[in-house]
């Protein structure tokens, strides 16, 4: 069992999960992920790693509450335990000296791009971070990036913070600052990673995306996480999750992600409260 150090609701729907898992903390690298189960009856879900403390033996993830399992995770409290916390999994992001690296984070990816930016900076790169959300109140860790970047830019859909617009405004943003990237790394929702890969194709900026398919075991056994890269079938869990964004068959990937949309809603169709799910009525009414 793994002890929960803390679960914080950082911004609406985004939760920071800190778990005591010394073995994971010891060897985790940027771009890795862990497989988590919220309770013994729960499903295994992958979560990107967002930070760690090797001395304290803790690992941090930021996840979005977007279904039954993440709802269960969000309701955990400090001191609770979870039965599964397997990791570090995946190959991790390739870190070396590239020159100028643009780290782009959106949604839960604001969390998971942080260790990438930190490592890239430590490797001697010039690092610019771009974080993106629909509105100012959905941006988090804004200060944390300042220490690991040579510049932090914000983009919001409604213009309430930073530049108004979407990730498609990035080339314009970089041009105006006179930045010429050698590498672009994107962590975030599929739509965002796809968009960034599209806009970086014509200027020829190498783009690494951290893929987020449906996954079960995370060790290459089940094959659920397969995707097509450059016409070849790859498993995101063991061959990735980082891939070249320009080589991914995005249409296939998006279609596969939606395979279980109706089923994913079924466990939520309940009139009981989330934190008492399956309690059989321990809270007494009249």
């Amino acid at each position: 069992m793994y002890r929960i150090v803390d679960v914080k609701h950082v911004v609406p729907n985004m939760h920071e999960l800190i778990v005591e898992a010394p073995a994971v903390a010891e060897s985790v690298q940027p771009g890795n992920f862990v497989i988590v189960r919220a309770d013994a009856q729960g499903e295994r879900i992958p979560l990107s790693v967002a930070d760690w403390d090797r001395d304290a033996g803790t690992v941090t993830s930021v996840f979005m509450q977007v279904g039954a399992s993440t709802a269960k995770l969000a309701r955990l409290k400090a001191g609770d335990t979870i039965p599964t916390y397997a990791g570090p999994l995946g190959r991790g992001t390739a870190i070396s000296k590239f020159g100028t690296v643009i780290c782009i984070g959106g949604c839960y990816g604001i969390g998971s791009i942080y260790p990438v930016a930190r490592a890239m900076k430590e490797a001697g790169n010039k690092v610019f971070t771009i974080i993106e959300a629909r509105s100012s109140f959905l941006l988090y860790w804004r200060d944390k990036f300042k220490d690991v970047s040579d510049g932090v830019f914000e983009i919001t859909r409604d213009g309430t913070a930073g530049k108004k617009g979407h990730v498609s405004a990035i080339p314009e943003l970089l041009q105006s600052k006179g930045i010429q990237p050698d590498l672009v790394v994107v962590n975030g929702c599929t739509f965002q990673m796809m968009r960034v890969s599209t806009i970086t194709r014509s200027p020829g900026w190498k783009t690494i995306v951290n893929m987020n398919p449906i996954m079960i075991d995370g060790t290459g056994m089940c094959g659920v996480c397969r995707l097509s890269v450059d016409g070849q079938t790859k498993f995101a869990c063991v061959d990735g999750p980082d891939f070249d964004g320009h080589k991914i068959d995005w249409d296939e990937f998006l279609a596969r992600r939606k395979s279980y949309s109706p089923e994913e809603v079924e466990p939520l169709r309940k009139s009981g409260c989330g934190s008492h799910a399956g309690c059989g009525g321990k809270e007494q009414g009249r």
């Binding site: 509105s135 979407h166 994913e264 309940k270 009139s271």
Partner: protein
């Protein structure tokens, strides 16, 4: 009281002459003339509030911009609802509202692509934009933004950062997207009369909540969902169905869960039942509903344990089969035994068509077979008595017109909830309420007089009160000695009742089933009084249908009581929507026809169509023959199931048993056969209330009064009827929100009693009833009178394992006032 028509007045709106009834607001006058004034907080059924300021108008001769919702329309007024200035003001106010309402989706130019690629975001915990909101495309705020053409928000965003409130059952509350229109507060206070919701805090911290921030369960919420229905945004949303988004449409139907027969508008999405809300039907529920009708439908029919295929036992295995195979198996079993060895049990939740077909099957196909129903428990005292009760007109909406109301053993929080609304309407108009209830119910706080008899002695009191109503001299002293109620309290109630001109006597299932025969006798005596409206409230949605179809007139050889006690052994037992057993009843061949599998082995299972999947009619308390509509009509399939209406199954069985084709080959044929056999029942759905023609045979019952008994360590066992049932299914096992309320769990006792015994609430206690010992969870319940132990009669055990232990008590439910001794000391307590 004759109502006077309001005078018609005239005024000008937007330079057009319009007419309106005297007394309405400018907003309503405009609305009545088809002129829309934007508003977020006003509602025709609620008082003016003026919080959103969107309805400001210009009125000649009045300073500034008065609110249309709060200004009374007057003769000759000249009103302008649209002008450049008004539009500017409205846009500015709406922008201010939006600065506190996550709304970036409204302004995003990529929202179409987002919708295309992001299939799953509506499953998020909190709404941070329209695409994440359960109310997307059914939101009044969204409509208004579109109408006024807002494209930019110039103000900084202030997100309140409140944790979403999801710990109560049935609906979630996210006050981050609340616009503080106060509709829910006014609905709860003005229409429901419950006042659970109120504004708390002030200024930018202002928020909707309960007193002292208690949970809604603790605050006395009835979970009627009226607040959810009236919310202009997605701040309040159904837990079970919010994931569906905007429904494709609504179908009006009759609620299948109780005999009030409320009309519902059932929402459907992609052909599937999604949610239900009260229909604006003025005859019965008038836009109001209870927790069962509002929130229990989706889980009751779509629960993942729903039985979808016929099943047949072959040797050791119980396997899915075709309908043909299952019908053949039942026909074979029936054909090999004498009809006299066959017993059928039918549920009072079946439609008239299902009930009639069952009767027709028993009489025509297997003549001589026994047929009984649990309606015998729900309507005790015999068919003649109940025909007498139904021989006087019954009107639920007239309860609000009475000047004196006597409620006996009736709690309207979760059951018969719309009756509570009618009672509170009457009280608001000055009516007096006298409640006779051993427990503190949701009505007791409104009473002028709360008589708290020892449970089981309600009859003694009611006999005296009925005498007072009938103008006779009541034997108050005897009533006082028997019930334990102080004589002066009885005298006070007697005085109030004697002065009433239009008296409603409302008797709930707790009194009818467990108040003793005296309750029924007193009710019968009230039939003679012309000034009394007697309304019995019982469980079983179609119990009156069972009665009218003559099913209580039968003298079955295998009665439900004998079958339950195991004292008889039918060779074939056929359960139709009725599972009054927790383990397999004693028989050679068991057929179960229901919407869920029974919690024990059967030989054949026939999947029945649920209320969502078949049409039918139900007879409510008032005698209305109401239509239950078919919501879903999917083709057979592993996901959609192979369920069939009950009448269809009987027809097929008849064909399989006999060579000649049966007569009942369609729903219409069944309905025609019903009206031929029972001319009193209309040939098709007819919502007119009816009276039963049978006259009351005088002198059937005599009052019997049980004396008090309450020595130390011994408790009065009080059985309560189970109300969350449908077709032999315990709804609590399917509807998670009901499980959370835990209304029918364990042994409920006064906290002081539990303390004396040293049993912590929630722990297991041993209960001994006349020699039988069982274990049950002890629950502390302040509303239980001291010296009593309440438990819910587990008539339907449908799958709830922890309740089967209570079965030992079940045998004693007919013994009113039996003593139970919860054994004390460490040896008998098990930590819960």
């Amino acid at each position: 009281m004759a109502l006077q028509e309001p005078k018609t007045l005239a005024m000008q709106i937007n330079h057009r002459r319009v007419e309106f009834p005297e007394g309405v607001t400018v907003l309503r006058a405009a609305e009545l003339n088809g002129i829309k004034i934007p508003s977020l907080c006003s509602h025709k059924d609620l008082s003016a509030f003026g919080s959103c300021r969107m309805c400001m108008v210009e009125i000649e001769g009045m300073r500034g911009y008065p609110l249309a919702c709060d200004t009374r329309a007057q003769e000759g007024m000249k009103v302008l609802t649209e002008s450049v200035r008004l539009r500017e003001l409205r846009i500015e106010i709406l922008k201010l509202l939006l600065s506190e309402h996550p709304s970036s989706c409204l302004l995003c130019d990529e929202s179409d692509d987002c919708k295309e690629y992001q299939g799953t975001i509506r499953k998020t915990g909190v709404s941070t934009g329209c695409r994440f909101c359960p109310n997307d495309h059914q939101c009044e705020l969204q409509d208004l933004v579109e109408e006024l053409g807002i494209k930019d928000i110039d103000y900084p965003i202030y997100y309140r950062g409140l944790e979403p409130e999801q710990d109560d059952p049935f609906y979630d509350r996210d006050y981050n997207i609340c616009v503080l229109c106060g509709r829910c507060v006014r609905m709860c206070q003005e229409v429901r009369g419950t006042s659970v919701l109120a504004f708390s805090w002030r200024g930018r911290k202002a928020k909707i909540g309960t007193a002292f921030d208690r949970s809604h369960v603790q605050a006395g919420c009835e979970f009627c969902g009226a607040c959810v229905d009236i919310c202009p945004t997605g701040a309040l949303a159904d837990k079970a169905s919010k994931w569906d988004g905007k429904p494709d449409g609504f179908i009006t139907t009759t609620c299948p869960f109780c005999a009030v027969g409320c009309q519902l508008d059932v929402a459907h999405k992609d052909g599937r039942l999604s949610s239900a809300k009260a229909a604006l039907d003025p005859e019965i529920n008038d836009g109001q509903i209870c927790v069962k009708g509002r929130f229990c439908m989706p889980e009751a029919t779509h629960h993942f344990t729903r039985a979808r295929k016929p099943m047949v036992r072959k040797g050791r295995y119980f396997r899915e089969s075709t309908w043909e195979e299952a019908i053949h198996a039942v026909a074979a079993a029936i054909s090999t035994v004498q009809p006299a060895d066959i017993a059928m049990l039918v549920s009072p939740d079946l439609s008239c068509e299902g009930l009639f077909s069952a009767g027709w099957f028993a009489d025509s196909v297997i003549p001589g077979a026994s047929l009984d129903t649990s309606a015998r428990d729900l309507l005790p005292g015999g068919a003649q008595l109940w025909k007498a009760f139904f021989s006087k007109p019954i009107s639920l909406k007239d309860i609000s017109r009475c000047d004196t109301i006597l409620s006996v053993g009736l709690d309207t929080r979760f059951h018969f909830s719309i009756v509570g609304v009618q009672i509170r309407r009457a009280i608001a108009k000055g009516a007096k309420l006298i409640a006779v209830d051993a427990r503190s119910g949701n009505l007791t706080r409104y009473t002028d007089d709360w008589l708290q008899p020892m449970p089981g002695t309600e009859g003694a009191l009611l006999v005296a009160l009925a005498a007072a109503i009938s103008g006779e001299t009541p034997d108050s002293e005897r009533a006082a000695t028997s019930s334990g109620v102080a004589p002066e309290k009885i005298a006070h109630a007697v005085k109030m009742l004697a002065s009433g001109h239009d008296i409603a006597v409302l008797v709930g299932p707790q009194a009818i089933q467990n108040g003793g025969p005296a309750v029924l006798a007193a009710m019968a005596s009230l039939l003679k009084s012309p000034s009394v409206r007697l309304v019995p409230f019982y469980f079983g949605a179609n119990s009156r249908g069972v009665l009218e179809l003559g099913m209580l007139d039968r003298t079955p050889s295998f009665g439900i009581e004998q079958l339950r006690s195991g004292s008889v052994h039918p060779k074939v037992l056929y359960l139709v929507g009725e599972v009054p057993f927790s383990k397999r009843p004693d028989c050679d061949f068991l057929v179960v026809q229901d919407i869920y599998l029974p919690p024990f082995d059967a030989d054949v299972f026939l999947p029945a169509a649920s209320f969502a999947e078949a049409k039918g009619t139900l007879i409510n308390i008032e005698g209305r023959l109401q239509e239950a509509s078919q919501i879903e009509s999917f083709p057979d399939g592993m996901r959609t199931g192979f369920a069939r209406p009950d009448w269809w199954t009987f027809t097929e069985l008849a064909a399989a048993v006999k060579v000649s084709p049966p007569a009942l080959t369609s729903l219409e044929a069944v309905q025609a056969a019903i009206s031929t056999a029972f001319p009193g029942i209309p040939a098709k759905a007819d919502r007119m209330p009816r009276v039963s023609p049978e006259a009351f045979p005088p002198g059937v019952l005599k009052a019997e009064v049980t004396s008090l008994n309450g020595s130390v360590g011994k408790f009065r066992l009080v059985p309560s009827p189970a109300g969350f049932t449908h077709r032999g299914i315990n709804l609590v096992a399917k509807v998670e929100g009901l499980a959370m309320l835990a209304l029918e769990e364990g042994i409920r006792m006064n906290p002081a009693d539990l303390k004396t015994l040293g049993i912590p609430s929630g722990s297991e206690a041993e209960v001994c009833v006349t020699g039988t010992t069982t274990k049950a969870i002890a629950i502390s319940d302040a509303e239980c009178p001291a010296g009593c132990a309440y438990f819910t009669v587990p008539t339907t055990c449908g799958g709830i394992e922890h309740r089967t232990g209570m079965q030992a008590l079940f045998k004693h439910t007919t013994i009113v006032g039996a003593d139970i001794a919860p054994a004390t000391g460490s040896s008998t307590q098990v930590g819960g």
